[in-house]
Amino acid sequence: MAKFKKNKSGDLPAISTASLPDIVFMLLFFFMVATVMRDNTLMVQNTLPAADQVQKLDKKDRVIYIYAGKPSSRYIDTYGTSAKIQLNDKFGTVEEVGAFVLAERAAKRQELQNVLTTALKVDSETKMGIISDIKQELRKVNALKLNYTTRVGDYTQNFN
């Protein structure tokens, strides 16, 4: 019976690695789908405060992000240690917040322009003064929906 020739040597057949690429591709596709690329390089320190009474943020295309905090270590030499506002990829002043929000709003699709939320990602060590100034600017341009982005956790983590 030549067709069913036995492996005479008795060696274990090598495990086929042909399906390894398939497995890896599967993982690859998962991460490709789940990935959200960071569109802003953070130039400020950004440890968010903790809160547990939180609501989910709206879809990403309906959100305008404003960052604030002390400049990160590599910018301290240039910009000092007092809290700064970051708009897109550069530092901005309080007066520029209004114009920034209007420009971002104009760049969104027509039907989304009335449902936009402004997310404030502010470092937990920041003083409230700068945040109140931002809020005043937002009121001036009628961007009233606001979200204080936080990390999920017990509020007592904020006191230590």
């Binding site: 879809k59 009233l144 204080y148």
Partner: protein
Amino acid sequence: MARRKSPEVNAGSMADIAFLLLIFFLVTTTIETDSGINRKLPPMEEQIDPPIIRQKNIFTVVVNKNNQLLVEEELTDIKELRSLAVDFLDNGGGSGEEFCDYCQGDRDPRSSDNPDKAIISLKNDRETEYKVYIAVQNELVAAYNVLRNREFARLYPNEGLTYVEADLRYTDPRTSIDDKSSLKEKLDVIKALYPQKLSEAEPSKVN
């Protein structure tokens, strides 16, 4: 004559290529978990004559520049803030038209008349730290959520949900439109029972 076989392409390096891509996406991935406290700012135009609100219907919370908390002019620990706010909102001291039949509070005539009248006024200093401000906001929202959960459980015991869970389901994009509209009705009822009236004063300057 034996048929000539075409040489097989070596697919051994396919895994390497795929791994390279995989590692790239692994490194750049940030799975979004953005959530936070939603707030609505008041519009800019000032009211010409602000409505007169009786002092007993206002619950003042002040955070000073040393991050200390003053609730109704008394130095308070933040751990007590939630229960103090719940007591104030749920007091139901009003009578006649202002009587609140679902309130379970002490009905102290010196505290708020009903949840619709009760206003929490939050004031912070420019030197207050953001994390303390967020903690205070968190506790005040929690006070409303405690009461709304209680009413939700009382009015809709068959749902098997709390108010917060129902709200989460309502905002979830995967929920079907039918579910959403029935949830919205219930949520609106609860929101009307305990409306979130949180007023923020403009911060005081450093003196």
